[in-house]
């Protein structure tokens, strides 16, 4: 391994080199529509306009960003919600013409001084959930979009044939071009387009191009992700980061977009034109130094990225193994981060945006592909991240080589490793019970640990296999549950409670069984079960820092709001608490990392010139968070029934699971349910499971009560007009929609607490009409 200080030009990945006739590919492009624009200056983090493209009507126009829009929606995901609200109907579904795919930036996006400042926020109506799904993603696209002059890109309509949208921020030109000859799969397509659109034939020019794409898997499943490229001048390959959740890549391909390309000219560390660049550099440098001095003793992100979590999760019984049945596994040490460290290329600044010294985007170069269309080729694999390893643990894949293989194909096929892995794990469990079998799975032996079968499944899916199983299975757990139940192949309870989806979206990779707060962290989310709103397991289960329902509700208010804030600004969450100041543990609220919160206050003020305080950060989020929930209500969701979670995430569904943690569960029956020791000994496992089921379901309902109350929602989970007005979100149409829904709930008797409270317990509030 090279020992550092390698001249940029000399680094070799050992990857298979491709020779393409790029001129021929380019000359096959037919320009369908073009438009030019005058580039403006970015002022204090805002380009002050957004770009609207309609592929059906071939319309390209600019929209102005008003001061009111900034005040109410801040930027990033907030702007995305505002643009969606203006453009779609409550009945809009993912493949309707009017559905939009939005990529936004945020006022702090594109700053280079503070680690983690290059995130794009992507929004669309998701095929999985039928409501808006938002994803944040690294890569150069967001910053370049803003440097090209736009705070957001909004795409509506569908093209008739495969197109590439090109935003040339260097020359102020936008074109929509047909793209018949390019590859579809990302690792090849993004390389071709980067070469085609770079102004000059050198690496520095190629680094100024970013490509958004999705591959054949996105075309043929509901797990499509958006791959955002960032060209690596050392490796000489466009690397990728994923907007993974909710099938946004599926929407991209449904619109017949092969790729979106953005290109910029020269930019600097102050292209955002911040109000106070001196302060900005000061805060940023402070964090760089913290990472330099402390990362190796804390998360070791610079060495192994998020994969450092694998061993921690396994240790605490939280690593999802064999479809979340277990939290640790005897073979887990084979996929600990040290194993991947052997594969990772060292001595390269692995940030997914310039200046991110946390550098968690680890990469394996020269990996030899084992299966499928690229068998035998040597490629760069981005990752694996923790979630991908977790997904493989769920499928019982314990060989790093196969984790990399799965990772590579998910990426290049443009599918989400999380949804894909979680879903396959469910199919595998059904296979184990005989509910699915070889015949029902189109000849694929989809049992736990069968890596070949998993890859076979992916390849068949990407090739648009016509078998019923592939067609249904590629739509995810929810549709497979319906399919199995319709065919009467198994016990409905078992099928519903084992499949780890909520709202139609697959769970990400943590076992939440023993942490009630984290069950809420997954269930009481806007877009579906995803840990980006709250991660409370240690706080709740390990440290027991939030024992009461009220404590948990406060955490499920504060942390989702806090984490939403990153998405409003175009930031990454990791540099907030995956590195902590040395004295953090001695502060009043270590879980909040107070010094870093203050960094963000200073940071936002330094860019925008605003004069906000830490409370204002939460207020900014609360506005958008409640608005998104209200939009869910508008689209017919966003109620208590939609915050349902499968029992696999709450407790033991099967005897095997109960027995694997027998001591813990028996103890709970005695201590929490006041059943006598002797009685517990006499009960059979099924009986015990039922008792625990009843108890834990009630706990979850009580948690919902407390959280809804804290968030200012009705007992059915509807944001109240009163709360919306307090936040300044006083759009009359929205207030009427909410009031109408609350009135309907009142008639239907839904404005009642969901938990059953005994005499000694109190619901969150005695006045049930607190929300009026």
């Amino acid at each position: 391994m090279s020992e550092g200080q390698i001249p940029v030009e000399e680094y070799e990945t050992g990857n298979t080199k491709h020779k393409w006739e790029l001129k021929k590919i380019k000359s096959a492009h037919k320009v369908i529509h073009k438009s030019s624009y005058k580039k403006g200056k970015i002022e204090r983090g805002f380009a002050n306009r957004t770009l609207y493209i309609n592929l059906t009507t071939k319309e390209i126009k600019e929209k102005k960003v008003t001061e009111e829009m900034k005040k109410k929606f801040t930027g990033g995901r907030g702007f995305g919600l505002k643009l969606m609200w203006d453009s779609i109907d409550p009945s809009t579904r993912w493949n309707n013409d009017e559905n939009e795919l939005i990529i936004t930036t945020g006022p702090l996006c594109g700053v280079t001084q503070y680690p983690g400042s290059g995130k794009s926020l992507c929004l669309s109506v998701s095929p999985a959930t039928n409501i808006i799904c938002d994803c944040n993603v690294g890569g150069f696209f967001g910053p370049y979009l803003k440097f090209s002059g736009f705070d957001a890109l909004e795409i509506q309509g569908k093209a008739k044939e495969d197109v590439v949208i090109v935003i040339d921020g260097e020359n102020g030109r936008i074109t929509i071009e047909t793209a018949p000859l390019e590859e579809t799969n990302t690792h090849l397509l993004s390389e071709q387009l980067t070469h085609i659109y770079a102004t000059e034939d050198n690496d520095k020019s190629r680094q100024k191009v970013s490509v958004v794409s999705a591959g054949k898997g996105a075309e043929n499943s509901w797990w499509g992700c958006l791959n955002f490229s960032f060209y690596d001048i050392r490796r000489k390959v466009p690397r990728i980061k994923q907007a993974g959740r909710g099938g946004l890549g599926t929407v991209l391909r449904d619109k017949r977009i092969k790729a979106i390309v953005v290109k910029v000219g020269r930019f600097t560390g102050v292209s955002n034109n911040p109000a106070d660049s001196i302060k900005l550099a000061e805060v940023g440098t402070k964090l760089h130094r913290e990472i330099r001095d402390l990362d190796r003793y804390q998360c070791n992100m610079r060495a192994v990225g998020t994969a450092h979590l694998v061993e921690i999760m396994n240790e605490y019984d939280l690593l999802p193994c064999e479809n979340y049945r277990f939290g640790c596994f005897p073979k887990a040490s084979k996929v600990f981060s040290a194993e991947f460290y052997k594969y990772f290329t060292k001595i390269i600044p692995d940030g997914c945006w310039h200046g991110c010294t946390m550098a968690c985007a680890k990469t394996v170069d020269g990996f030899t592909v084992k299966t499928g269309p690229y068998k035998g080729q040597k490629v760069t694999v981005d990752g694996p991240e923790y979630e991908t390893v977790g997904a493989c643990a769920n499928m019982s894949i314990w060989d790093p080589e196969w984790v990399l293989e799965f990772n590579f194909y998910c990426d290049t096929y443009g599918i989400d490793t999380i949804s894909t892995g979680t879903a396959i794990a469910f199919y595998q469990e059904m296979y184990e019970y005989g509910i699915l079998n070889k015949e029902r799975c189109d000849g694929i032996e989809l049992c736990f640990g069968n890596s070949d079968a998993v890859l076979e499944f992916l390849h068949k899916m990407a090739n648009a296999d016509k078998s019923e199983f592939i067609k249904v299975a590629s739509k995810g757990i929810r549709r497979v549950k319906n399919w199995i139940i319709k065919n009467s192949w198994g016990d409905k309870y078992l099928i519903e409670e084992c499949g780890m989806e909520s709202k139609g979206l697959e769970y990400s990779e943590y076992v939440t069984k023993e942490s009630l707060a984290m069950q809420g962290g997954y269930g009481l989310t806007l877009k579906g079960p995803q840990h980006d709103e709250a991660w409370l397991i240690f706080m709740d289960m390990v440290n027991n820092a939030i024992p009461t329902f009220q404590d948990k509700a406060e955490a499920l208010h504060y942390f989702p709001m806090w984490r939403t804030w990153f998405g409003l600004n175009g930031l990454c969450k990791l540099p907030w608490n995956d590195i902590e100041p040395a004295n953090n543990a001695e502060t009043d609220e270590p879980a909040k990392v107070p010094e870093h919160v203050q960094n963000y206050v200073d940071y936002q003020n330094a860019v925008t010139g605003w004069n906000i305080k830490k409370e204002d950060l939460i207020l900014q989020s609360e506005r958008c968070y409640n608005w998104q929930r209200a939009m869910n209500v508008w689209m017919g969701r966003g109620q208590r029934k939609d915050d349902w979670i499968p029992y696999r995430s709450m407790g033991p569904v099967t005897k095997l699971e109960y027995l694997s943690r027998k001591e813990r569960y028996d103890k709970q029956l005695i201590e929490k349910l006041n059943i006598k020791n002797k009685e517990v000994e006499q009960m059979d496992v099924k009986e015990k499971i039922n008792k625990l089921y009843e108890h834990r379901q009630n706990q979850y309902q009580k948690l919902m009560d407390a959280v809804y109350y804290r968030r200012g929602w009705t007992p059915n989970g509807i944001p109240t007009p009163k709360k919306m007005k307090e936040l300044g979100m006083d759009n009359k149409e929205m207030l009427n929609i909410l009031q109408q829904k609350i009135n309907e709930d009142e008639k239907a008797g839904l404005n009642l607490w969901g938990g059953k409270y005994n005499k000694r317990e109190k619901p969150p509030c005695n006045d049930l009409k607190y929300w009026e």
Binding site: Q207, G269, A281, T285, L287, A303, I347, T357
Partner: protein
């Protein structure tokens, strides 16, 4: 191009220094066309009890691997050089320099550092500064990556 094997670094003779800071002024003239010295100088002379200490880049080049855009490289004479036209001002090199010798002034976002040009040596009235040639392999340093090290 053959890789440079040696580099000139500054050597300080504290016994000859009288703390006049002419070196700093000469340095800021090179970097910012001003004779303010201080924050705009890559070399700093710091009072240390009754003597003086020099604080300046030792050309070990750890920063080269930190730069995301390849703005830092070893020039043919071996000095570690920041190309301002490529730099995007992220401060990663500033933050990660183990001795804080990659500097940032308030005048611009791009950092600056000692380029072993010798302006300070020439400016010193007492010959307290020298440029001495050392082998790069003796001083070279790489970014921390090894687990547990």
């Amino acid at each position: 191009m053959d890789k440079p094997k040696t580099v000139k670094i500054l050597k300080f003779h504290p016994e000859k220094c009288n703390g006049c800071l002419d070196c700093e002024r000469a340095c800021s003239q090179i970097h910012f066309k001003t004779d303010e010295g201080g924050d705009k100088s890559a070399i700093r002379i710091i009072k240390d009890n009754k003597s003086f200490k020099m604080h300046v880049c030792d050309q070990r080049g750890l920063c080269i691997d930190m730069c995301p855009v390849g703005a830092l490289s070893r020039r043919k004479h071996g000095t570690v050089w920041l190309d301002n036209d490529i730099c995007i001002g992220c401060q990663a090199c500033v933050g990660f320099c183990p001795i804080g010798a990659m500097r940032k002034s308030e005048a611009r976002i791009e950092p600056f550092k000692c380029i072993s040009c010798g302006a300070c040596v020439r400016a010193c009235p007492n010959d307290a500064l020298d440029l001495v040639q050392v082998k790069i392999s003796d001083i070279k340093d790489v970014v921390y990556y090894k687990q547990g090290a």
